[in-house]
């Protein structure tokens, strides 16, 4: 018997037809909190990656001397700079808190046990603990952003 991967039909180009594609990643509605968590984790992850690149560029300005470094710091002192930093605070808080939850769940912890499903089926993997984890991450992020905003804007 031909193995699954050698099967030519499998590689036919029309296999891609009607795939949801990026729409599936970008639309977090329709499927509940876990899908929103998936979307936010990815969105905040990509945002942090962009921030990280910017952060390396910013700090590397130090090799061009004190003036260059100060000019860079000035950027963060503007209103837009503040707003950007608040977003960094929020995304990193959410990403780390929810990320720690995911590290547990994605290795089979805190999900509950398989059992005899009864109608109306409610999947144990989408249990209250998971949902609370997502809400806690969101609340932590909101609190951190408020705290950051208070320091950044009140300090002016």
């Amino acid at each position: 018997m031909k193995s699954f991967k050698e099967d030519k039909i499998y590689w036919d180009s029309n296999r891609r037809e009607n795939r949801e594609g990026l729409k599936a990643w970008l639309n977090p509605s329709r499927y509940g909190w876990e899908r929103i968590s998936y979307w936010l984790q990815r969105l905040t992850g990509v945002f942090l990656l962009i921030y990280f690149v910017g952060h390396v560029i910013e700090t590397s300005s130090l090799v061009d001397g004190k003036d260059a470094w100060n000019a860079m710091l000035e950027l963060t002192q503007t209103t837009w700079g503040h707003l950007f930093l608040i977003l960094v605070i929020g995304t990193s808080t959410f990403h780390s808190a929810n990320g720690i939850r995911l590290l547990f769940t994605e290795t089979g912890r805190g999900l509950g046990k398989p059992g005899r499903p009864d109608y109306p089926y409610s999947p144990v993997s989408l249990n209250y603990r998971q949902k609370s984890g997502i809400w806690i991450a969101l609340i932590l992020a909101a609190t951190a952003m408020l705290y950051g905003a208070n320091i950044l804007f009140a300090g002016e």
Binding site: F4, D7, I9, Y10, N14, R15, R16, E17, N18, R19, E20, G21, L22, K23, A24, W25, R30, Y31, G32, E34, R35, S37, Y38, W39, Q41, R42, L102, T105, E106, T107, G108, R109, L111, G112, K113, P114, G115, R116, P117, D118, Y119, Y121, P123, V124, S125, L126, Q130
Partner: protein, 282 residues
């Protein structure tokens, strides 16, 4: 005399029937069914057809579609068989979410327009009928059968009995309720972009046989899913478990299997494995 009684009876029956009819008529409402139409063989582009269909409290989306097909346009292509959420053939996207048409009542949707589209992530054959070959290939790749030389039916005399406790059964029972309807595959964002990813249904089956203590292919089952496009492509969006009509909870099976792959979870020494080993077959 007898005839008179009969006439009287049939009259009351008639009155009764008329009353029932008017009751039913007052319960009846009309909904708009929007049906996705595409016939790739004719090379025409897709469009939606609209039908007005009378429904009652108990009308399912499949009933409504069959009404449209029976009385309004017999060219609508639908696939269905059991009409009772057992065969897994009537999956489609109903108002944006993958569902079984026979298991979804119109009254549940609570909207006047019901939109039926083919399941996303499956190539379209025609209208609401999609091609499951890929999906079944992924399922087959998981070797969805018990691996166990002791249970080989070639030599009936050497057959061994495997007694399972209710606890043993509960470890995999819910995963074995899968009807291969493809709703989970359709809801999964990873399947949406990766044709080589086995998807929730297949991975739940990988777990189903892994967790069965009659099966002795523990390591090879892990090897099958531990690939570049394998189980690690799951990001626990959980949508598979949201849409599954049979309570399989594929997301649970996938995460539990991953626990075994990273050796965080211990696999109880399997009955089947220890027997095979004792017979010198591993």
């Amino acid at each position: 005399m007898i005839a008179l009684v009969n006439i009287k009876n049939s009259r009351t029956n008639l009155e009764h029937d008329q009353k029932k009819e008017s009751e039913i008529a007052s319960n009846r409402k009309v909904i708009h069914l929007r049906v996705y139409r595409k016939n790739p063989k004719q090379g025409k582009s897709s469009h939606f057809d609209k039908f007005e269909v009378p429904v009652q409290r108990w009308t399912t989306v499949l009933d409504a579609l069959l009404h449209a097909k029976g009385y309004l346009d017999n060219s609508i292509a639908i696939r269905y068989s059991c009409r009772m959420a057992s065969c897994g053939s009537c999956g489609m996207k109903i108002n944006g979410i993958p569902r079984l048409a026979c298991y979804t009542k119109v009254s549940e949707i609570d909207e006047n327009i019901i939109t039926c589209e083919p399941l996303p992530n499956f190539p379209i054959i025609r209208d609401l009928v999609t091609d499951f070959s890929d999906f079944f290939e992924h399922h087959r790749a998981m070797e969805p059968f018990i691996h166990n030389p002791n249970a080989d039916i070639v030599d009936k005399n050497s057959l061994t009995e495997f007694i399972q406790s209710p606890k043993d059964v509960e470890r995999y029972l819910q995963s074995s309720y899968c009807i291969k309807c493809g709703l989970c595959y359709s809801a999964c964002p990873s399947v949406g972009t990766d044709t080589k990813f086995p998807g929730p249904q297949a991975l739940a089956q990988a777990y189903r046989y892994f967790a069965d203590n009659r099966d002795d292919a523990t390591q090879s089952r892990l090897d099958i899913v531990d690939t570049k496009h394998g189980i690690w492509r799951c990001h626990f969006a959980g949508s598979c478990s949201v849409v599954c009509p049979k309570g399989v909870d594929p997301a649970l099976g996938i995460q539990l299997l991953r626990g075994h792959l990273v050796s965080f979870s211990k696999n109880d020494k399997k009955l089947a494995e220890s027997r095979t080993r004792s017979l010198g077959k591993i």
